[in-house]
Symmetry: C2
Subunit: 202 residues, 2 copies
Protein backbone atom coordinates (compact mmCIF):
# COMPACT_ATOMS: atom_id res chain seq x y z
CA UNK A 1 0.00 0.00 0.00
CA UNK A 2 1.49 3.36 -1.11
CA UNK A 3 1.32 6.68 0.78
CA UNK A 4 -0.05 9.92 -0.67
CA UNK A 5 2.43 12.84 -0.56
CA UNK A 6 0.33 14.35 2.33
CA UNK A 7 0.31 11.11 4.32
CA UNK A 8 4.02 10.77 3.71
CA UNK A 9 4.68 14.33 4.99
CA UNK A 10 2.52 13.68 8.13
CA UNK A 11 4.40 10.50 8.86
CA UNK A 12 7.73 12.22 8.32
CA UNK A 13 6.82 14.99 10.77
CA UNK A 14 5.56 12.49 13.39
CA UNK A 15 8.77 10.52 13.22
CA UNK A 16 10.85 13.69 13.42
CA UNK A 17 9.20 14.81 16.70
CA UNK A 18 11.22 14.15 19.86
CA UNK A 19 9.77 10.97 21.30
CA UNK A 20 8.81 11.01 25.01
CA UNK A 21 10.81 8.49 26.99
CA UNK A 22 8.51 5.85 28.43
CA UNK A 23 7.88 6.22 32.16
CA UNK A 24 9.18 3.28 34.18
CA UNK A 25 6.17 1.20 35.21
CA UNK A 26 7.70 0.39 38.61
CA UNK A 27 10.81 0.91 40.64
CA UNK A 28 13.82 -0.67 38.96
CA UNK A 29 14.08 -4.35 39.78
CA UNK A 30 16.94 -5.28 42.07
CA UNK A 31 19.93 -6.27 40.04
CA UNK A 32 19.97 -10.02 39.65
CA UNK A 33 23.29 -11.60 40.47
CA UNK A 34 25.53 -11.33 37.45
CA UNK A 35 26.04 -14.51 35.49
CA UNK A 36 29.72 -14.52 36.39
CA UNK A 37 28.78 -16.57 39.46
CA UNK A 38 30.16 -19.67 37.88
CA UNK A 39 31.70 -21.11 41.05
CA UNK A 40 29.26 -21.30 43.95
CA UNK A 41 29.93 -22.24 47.58
CA UNK A 42 27.04 -23.64 49.60
CA UNK A 43 27.36 -23.71 53.40
CA UNK A 44 25.13 -25.58 55.83
CA UNK A 45 26.55 -24.42 59.18
CA UNK A 46 26.36 -26.09 62.55
CA UNK A 47 28.80 -26.14 65.44
CA UNK A 48 29.72 -29.85 65.23
CA UNK A 49 29.08 -30.66 61.55
CA UNK A 50 29.14 -27.82 59.03
CA UNK A 51 28.52 -28.96 55.46
CA UNK A 52 30.39 -27.35 52.57
CA UNK A 53 29.93 -27.84 48.84
CA UNK A 54 31.43 -26.10 45.83
CA UNK A 55 30.08 -26.43 42.29
CA UNK A 56 30.96 -24.91 38.94
CA UNK A 57 27.85 -23.82 37.12
CA UNK A 58 27.77 -23.74 33.32
CA UNK A 59 24.81 -23.27 30.99
CA UNK A 60 24.20 -26.94 30.40
CA UNK A 61 25.67 -28.67 33.41
CA UNK A 62 26.89 -28.35 36.97
CA UNK A 63 30.16 -29.86 38.11
CA UNK A 64 30.99 -30.74 41.70
CA UNK A 65 34.41 -29.35 42.62
CA UNK A 66 34.62 -30.34 46.30
CA UNK A 67 32.50 -31.13 49.30
CA UNK A 68 33.28 -31.68 52.96
CA UNK A 69 31.79 -31.97 56.42
CA UNK A 70 33.69 -30.07 59.13
CA UNK A 71 33.56 -32.40 62.11
CA UNK A 72 34.18 -30.90 65.57
CA UNK A 73 34.19 -33.57 68.31
CA UNK A 74 31.93 -32.98 71.35
CA UNK A 75 35.02 -32.56 73.55
CA UNK A 76 36.21 -29.47 71.68
CA UNK A 77 35.57 -26.05 73.16
CA UNK A 78 33.12 -23.95 71.20
CA UNK A 79 35.77 -21.40 70.25
CA UNK A 80 38.02 -24.16 68.90
CA UNK A 81 35.15 -25.36 66.69
CA UNK A 82 34.60 -21.82 65.39
CA UNK A 83 38.28 -21.44 64.53
CA UNK A 84 38.25 -24.81 62.76
CA UNK A 85 35.14 -23.86 60.78
CA UNK A 86 36.63 -20.49 59.78
CA UNK A 87 39.95 -22.06 58.72
CA UNK A 88 38.30 -24.83 56.68
CA UNK A 89 35.96 -22.45 54.87
CA UNK A 90 38.89 -20.12 54.11
CA UNK A 91 41.00 -22.96 52.70
CA UNK A 92 38.15 -24.14 50.47
CA UNK A 93 37.63 -20.60 49.15
CA UNK A 94 41.35 -20.34 48.39
CA UNK A 95 41.25 -23.60 46.42
CA UNK A 96 38.23 -22.80 44.22
CA UNK A 97 37.69 -19.00 44.24
CA UNK A 98 33.89 -19.00 44.36
CA UNK A 99 32.23 -15.66 43.65
CA UNK A 100 29.17 -16.31 45.75
CA UNK A 101 28.26 -18.07 48.98
CA UNK A 102 24.78 -19.44 49.67
CA UNK A 103 23.38 -20.25 53.08
CA UNK A 104 19.97 -21.23 54.41
CA UNK A 105 17.79 -18.37 55.55
CA UNK A 106 16.89 -18.10 59.21
CA UNK A 107 14.38 -20.63 60.45
CA UNK A 108 12.94 -21.53 63.80
CA UNK A 109 15.26 -23.41 66.15
CA UNK A 110 14.18 -25.51 69.08
CA UNK A 111 15.22 -22.90 71.60
CA UNK A 112 17.17 -19.75 72.23
CA UNK A 113 20.43 -21.50 73.16
CA UNK A 114 20.35 -23.54 69.96
CA UNK A 115 19.74 -20.39 67.93
CA UNK A 116 22.68 -18.60 69.50
CA UNK A 117 25.08 -21.49 68.96
CA UNK A 118 23.90 -22.00 65.38
CA UNK A 119 24.34 -18.25 64.91
CA UNK A 120 27.94 -18.49 66.08
CA UNK A 121 28.69 -21.20 63.50
CA UNK A 122 27.02 -19.11 60.78
CA UNK A 123 28.94 -16.00 61.82
CA UNK A 124 32.29 -17.80 61.75
CA UNK A 125 31.61 -19.03 58.17
CA UNK A 126 30.01 -15.89 56.76
CA UNK A 127 32.68 -13.53 58.09
CA UNK A 128 35.32 -15.56 56.24
CA UNK A 129 33.27 -15.60 53.02
CA UNK A 130 32.56 -11.87 53.18
CA UNK A 131 36.18 -11.03 54.02
CA UNK A 132 37.23 -13.01 50.94
CA UNK A 133 34.95 -10.80 48.85
CA UNK A 134 32.18 -13.31 48.15
CA UNK A 135 28.61 -12.09 47.78
CA UNK A 136 26.46 -13.85 50.36
CA UNK A 137 22.91 -14.95 49.61
CA UNK A 138 20.22 -16.66 51.63
CA UNK A 139 17.76 -19.21 50.31
CA UNK A 140 14.79 -20.56 52.25
CA UNK A 141 14.98 -24.33 52.87
CA UNK A 142 11.65 -24.86 51.12
CA UNK A 143 12.89 -23.06 48.03
CA UNK A 144 16.01 -25.22 47.93
CA UNK A 145 14.00 -28.46 48.18
CA UNK A 146 11.51 -27.20 45.61
CA UNK A 147 14.36 -26.43 43.21
CA UNK A 148 16.21 -29.71 43.72
CA UNK A 149 13.50 -32.30 44.38
CA UNK A 150 10.47 -30.39 43.08
CA UNK A 151 8.79 -30.71 46.46
CA UNK A 152 9.26 -28.14 49.26
CA UNK A 153 8.88 -30.60 52.13
CA UNK A 154 11.27 -33.23 50.77
CA UNK A 155 13.28 -35.30 53.26
CA UNK A 156 17.06 -35.26 53.54
CA UNK A 157 17.70 -38.61 51.78
CA UNK A 158 15.65 -37.47 48.77
CA UNK A 159 17.70 -34.26 48.59
CA UNK A 160 20.96 -36.23 48.80
CA UNK A 161 19.85 -38.60 46.02
CA UNK A 162 18.87 -35.75 43.71
CA UNK A 163 22.16 -33.97 44.44
CA UNK A 164 24.00 -37.15 43.54
CA UNK A 165 22.08 -37.47 40.28
CA UNK A 166 22.30 -33.78 39.29
CA UNK A 167 26.06 -33.76 39.79
CA UNK A 168 26.65 -37.22 38.36
CA UNK A 169 28.31 -38.51 41.53
CA UNK A 170 29.04 -42.18 42.10
CA UNK A 171 27.35 -42.06 45.50
CA UNK A 172 25.27 -39.66 47.58
CA UNK A 173 27.37 -37.27 49.69
CA UNK A 174 26.94 -37.33 53.48
CA UNK A 175 23.75 -35.47 54.49
CA UNK A 176 25.35 -32.17 55.66
CA UNK A 177 27.50 -31.93 52.52
CA UNK A 178 24.49 -32.84 50.36
CA UNK A 179 22.55 -29.96 51.91
CA UNK A 180 25.40 -27.57 51.14
CA UNK A 181 25.63 -28.80 47.53
CA UNK A 182 21.82 -28.49 47.26
CA UNK A 183 22.09 -24.83 48.28
CA UNK A 184 24.70 -24.19 45.60
CA UNK A 185 22.68 -26.07 42.93
CA UNK A 186 19.46 -24.27 43.87
CA UNK A 187 21.22 -20.92 43.65
CA UNK A 188 22.61 -21.85 40.23
CA UNK A 189 19.09 -22.67 39.03
CA UNK A 190 17.43 -19.68 40.65
CA UNK A 191 19.87 -17.01 39.56
CA UNK A 192 18.45 -17.18 36.03
CA UNK A 193 14.94 -16.47 37.33
CA UNK A 194 15.99 -13.94 39.94
CA UNK A 195 14.07 -11.11 38.27
CA UNK A 196 10.77 -12.84 39.03
CA UNK A 197 11.68 -13.88 42.55
CA UNK A 198 14.70 -11.91 43.74
CA UNK A 199 17.41 -13.67 45.65
CA UNK A 200 18.11 -12.22 49.06
CA UNK A 201 21.60 -10.89 49.51
CA UNK A 202 22.65 -10.61 53.14
Amino acid sequence: MGLSPRQFEQLRQRLARPRPRPEPVSAPLPASPPSRHGVILGIDPSLRGTGLGVIRHARDRNEMLEYAVIHCPPGWERSRCLAHIAGTVRAMIQRHHPGVCVIESLFQARNYQTALILGEARGASLAVAAEAGLEVYELAPRRVKQAIVGYGAAQKPAVAQMVRRLLGLAEAPPPDAADALALALAFAQEQGRAVLSPLKRI
Copy 2:
Protein backbone atom coordinates in the same frame (compact mmCIF):
# COMPACT_ATOMS: atom_id res chain seq x y z
CA MET B 1 38.36 -30.02 131.97
CA GLY B 2 41.16 -32.59 132.31
CA LEU B 3 41.27 -36.08 130.75
CA SER B 4 41.57 -39.31 132.80
CA PRO B 5 44.61 -41.49 131.86
CA ARG B 6 42.22 -43.90 130.11
CA GLN B 7 40.55 -41.14 128.13
CA PHE B 8 43.99 -39.77 127.25
CA GLU B 9 45.16 -43.16 125.97
CA GLN B 10 42.02 -43.61 123.85
CA LEU B 11 42.51 -40.20 122.31
CA ARG B 12 46.21 -40.88 121.65
CA GLN B 13 45.39 -44.15 119.85
CA ARG B 14 42.67 -42.52 117.77
CA LEU B 15 45.04 -39.80 116.63
CA ALA B 16 47.83 -42.29 115.87
CA ARG B 17 45.60 -44.31 113.46
CA PRO B 18 46.28 -43.74 109.78
CA ARG B 19 43.73 -41.18 108.70
CA PRO B 20 41.63 -41.99 105.62
CA ARG B 21 42.15 -39.46 102.86
CA PRO B 22 38.98 -37.49 102.44
CA GLU B 23 37.00 -38.48 99.37
CA PRO B 24 36.77 -35.63 96.88
CA VAL B 25 33.30 -34.15 97.26
CA SER B 26 33.12 -33.38 93.56
CA ALA B 27 35.09 -33.72 90.34
CA PRO B 28 38.41 -31.87 90.41
CA LEU B 29 38.01 -28.19 89.62
CA PRO B 30 39.15 -27.17 86.17
CA ALA B 31 42.56 -25.56 86.11
CA SER B 32 42.30 -21.84 86.65
CA PRO B 33 43.75 -19.72 83.87
CA PRO B 34 47.47 -19.19 84.33
CA SER B 35 48.46 -15.76 85.61
CA ARG B 36 50.30 -15.01 82.36
CA HIS B 37 47.08 -13.45 81.07
CA GLY B 38 48.45 -9.95 81.37
CA VAL B 39 46.79 -8.54 78.27
CA ILE B 40 43.04 -9.18 78.15
CA LEU B 41 40.59 -8.49 75.33
CA GLY B 42 36.94 -7.96 76.25
CA ILE B 43 34.32 -8.22 73.49
CA ASP B 44 30.68 -7.14 73.72
CA PRO B 45 29.39 -8.29 70.32
CA SER B 46 26.40 -7.06 68.38
CA LEU B 47 25.82 -6.75 64.64
CA ARG B 48 25.73 -2.93 64.49
CA GLY B 49 27.86 -1.91 67.49
CA THR B 50 30.37 -4.40 68.84
CA GLY B 51 32.37 -3.06 71.79
CA LEU B 52 36.06 -3.93 72.17
CA GLY B 53 38.39 -3.17 75.05
CA VAL B 54 41.97 -4.23 75.77
CA ILE B 55 43.66 -3.86 79.16
CA ARG B 56 47.02 -4.81 80.58
CA HIS B 57 46.62 -6.38 84.00
CA ALA B 58 49.41 -6.07 86.57
CA ARG B 59 49.37 -6.97 90.28
CA ASP B 60 48.58 -3.48 91.49
CA ARG B 61 46.92 -1.77 88.58
CA ASN B 62 45.13 -2.17 85.25
CA GLU B 63 46.02 -0.11 82.23
CA MET B 64 43.71 0.59 79.32
CA LEU B 65 45.50 -0.12 76.03
CA GLU B 66 42.72 0.55 73.52
CA TYR B 67 38.97 0.54 73.16
CA ALA B 68 36.64 0.88 70.20
CA VAL B 69 33.08 0.46 69.04
CA ILE B 70 32.71 -1.21 65.64
CA HIS B 71 29.89 0.71 63.98
CA CYS B 72 28.08 -0.95 61.08
CA PRO B 73 25.45 1.35 59.51
CA PRO B 74 21.91 -0.03 59.08
CA GLY B 75 22.35 0.06 55.30
CA TRP B 76 25.16 -2.49 55.36
CA GLU B 77 24.44 -6.09 54.47
CA ARG B 78 24.80 -8.49 57.37
CA SER B 79 27.75 -10.28 55.80
CA ARG B 80 29.57 -6.96 55.32
CA CYS B 81 29.11 -6.22 59.04
CA LEU B 82 30.49 -9.64 59.96
CA ALA B 83 33.56 -9.10 57.77
CA HIS B 84 34.10 -5.67 59.32
CA ILE B 85 33.79 -7.09 62.84
CA ALA B 86 36.25 -9.90 62.06
CA GLY B 87 38.76 -7.56 60.48
CA THR B 88 38.63 -5.03 63.32
CA VAL B 89 39.00 -7.67 66.03
CA ARG B 90 41.93 -9.21 64.14
CA ALA B 91 43.69 -5.84 63.81
CA MET B 92 43.26 -5.11 67.51
CA ILE B 93 44.68 -8.52 68.42
CA GLN B 94 47.67 -7.88 66.14
CA ARG B 95 48.35 -4.54 67.86
CA HIS B 96 48.22 -5.77 71.48
CA HIS B 97 48.71 -9.57 71.47
CA PRO B 98 46.18 -10.42 74.21
CA GLY B 99 46.41 -13.95 75.61
CA VAL B 100 42.76 -14.22 76.51
CA CYS B 101 39.40 -13.05 75.21
CA VAL B 102 36.38 -12.56 77.46
CA ILE B 103 32.78 -12.43 76.31
CA GLU B 104 29.41 -12.36 78.06
CA SER B 105 27.82 -15.74 78.62
CA LEU B 106 24.63 -16.59 76.81
CA PHE B 107 21.57 -14.81 78.10
CA GLN B 108 17.97 -14.58 77.04
CA ALA B 109 17.31 -12.48 73.95
CA ARG B 110 13.98 -11.00 73.01
CA ASN B 111 13.36 -13.55 70.30
CA TYR B 112 14.84 -16.24 68.13
CA GLN B 113 15.82 -13.92 65.27
CA THR B 114 17.68 -11.61 67.66
CA ALA B 115 19.50 -14.59 69.15
CA LEU B 116 20.59 -15.84 65.75
CA ILE B 117 21.89 -12.45 64.60
CA LEU B 118 23.66 -11.85 67.91
CA GLY B 119 25.13 -15.34 67.54
CA GLU B 120 26.50 -14.44 64.10
CA ALA B 121 28.28 -11.37 65.53
CA ARG B 122 29.67 -13.52 68.36
CA GLY B 123 30.82 -16.20 65.94
CA ALA B 124 32.62 -13.70 63.70
CA SER B 125 34.54 -12.30 66.70
CA LEU B 126 35.25 -15.56 68.51
CA ALA B 127 36.50 -17.38 65.43
CA VAL B 128 39.10 -14.65 64.91
CA ALA B 129 40.15 -14.73 68.57
CA ALA B 130 40.41 -18.52 68.60
CA GLU B 131 42.29 -18.62 65.28
CA ALA B 132 44.79 -16.15 66.76
CA GLY B 133 45.37 -18.61 69.62
CA LEU B 134 43.56 -16.71 72.40
CA GLU B 135 41.84 -18.65 75.15
CA VAL B 136 38.17 -17.68 75.19
CA TYR B 137 36.21 -17.33 78.43
CA GLU B 138 32.63 -16.46 79.26
CA LEU B 139 31.49 -14.39 82.21
CA ALA B 140 27.86 -13.94 83.26
CA PRO B 141 26.69 -10.30 83.06
CA ARG B 142 25.74 -10.33 86.76
CA ARG B 143 29.21 -11.49 87.71
CA VAL B 144 30.80 -8.70 85.68
CA LYS B 145 28.61 -6.04 87.32
CA GLN B 146 29.21 -7.54 90.75
CA ALA B 147 32.96 -7.42 90.16
CA ILE B 148 33.04 -3.87 88.79
CA VAL B 149 30.26 -2.03 90.60
CA GLY B 150 29.70 -4.41 93.54
CA TYR B 151 26.06 -4.84 92.54
CA GLY B 152 24.86 -7.50 90.09
CA ALA B 153 21.95 -5.47 88.69
CA ALA B 154 23.93 -2.25 88.10
CA GLN B 155 22.88 -0.07 85.17
CA LYS B 156 25.10 0.68 82.16
CA PRO B 157 26.07 4.26 83.20
CA ALA B 158 27.24 3.00 86.61
CA VAL B 159 29.38 0.37 84.90
CA ALA B 160 30.87 2.98 82.54
CA GLN B 161 31.70 5.32 85.44
CA MET B 162 33.41 2.56 87.44
CA VAL B 163 35.36 1.47 84.35
CA ARG B 164 36.50 5.08 83.90
CA ARG B 165 37.59 5.27 87.53
CA LEU B 166 39.28 1.84 87.66
CA LEU B 167 41.32 2.62 84.53
CA GLY B 168 41.99 6.26 85.39
CA LEU B 169 40.43 7.55 82.17
CA ALA B 170 39.64 11.23 81.61
CA GLU B 171 36.08 10.38 80.60
CA ALA B 172 33.75 7.38 80.50
CA PRO B 173 34.08 5.31 77.32
CA PRO B 174 30.98 4.88 75.11
CA PRO B 175 28.62 2.26 76.60
CA ASP B 176 29.50 -0.68 74.32
CA ALA B 177 33.24 -0.12 74.78
CA ALA B 178 32.72 0.31 78.54
CA ASP B 179 30.97 -3.07 78.67
CA ALA B 180 33.89 -4.67 76.84
CA LEU B 181 36.42 -3.08 79.21
CA ALA B 182 34.27 -4.19 82.16
CA LEU B 183 34.49 -7.78 80.92
CA ALA B 184 38.28 -7.55 80.72
CA LEU B 185 38.55 -5.92 84.17
CA ALA B 186 36.19 -8.46 85.75
CA PHE B 187 38.23 -11.30 84.26
CA ALA B 188 41.43 -9.74 85.61
CA GLN B 189 39.87 -9.61 89.07
CA GLU B 190 38.28 -13.04 88.93
CA GLN B 191 41.23 -15.00 87.58
CA GLY B 192 42.87 -14.81 91.01
CA ARG B 193 39.82 -16.37 92.69
CA ALA B 194 39.09 -18.86 89.95
CA VAL B 195 39.63 -21.87 92.19
CA LEU B 196 36.61 -20.94 94.28
CA SER B 197 34.39 -20.04 91.36
CA PRO B 198 35.86 -21.44 88.14
CA LEU B 199 35.89 -19.34 85.01
CA LYS B 200 34.17 -20.97 82.06
CA ARG B 201 36.37 -21.54 79.07
CA ILE B 202 34.43 -21.93 75.83
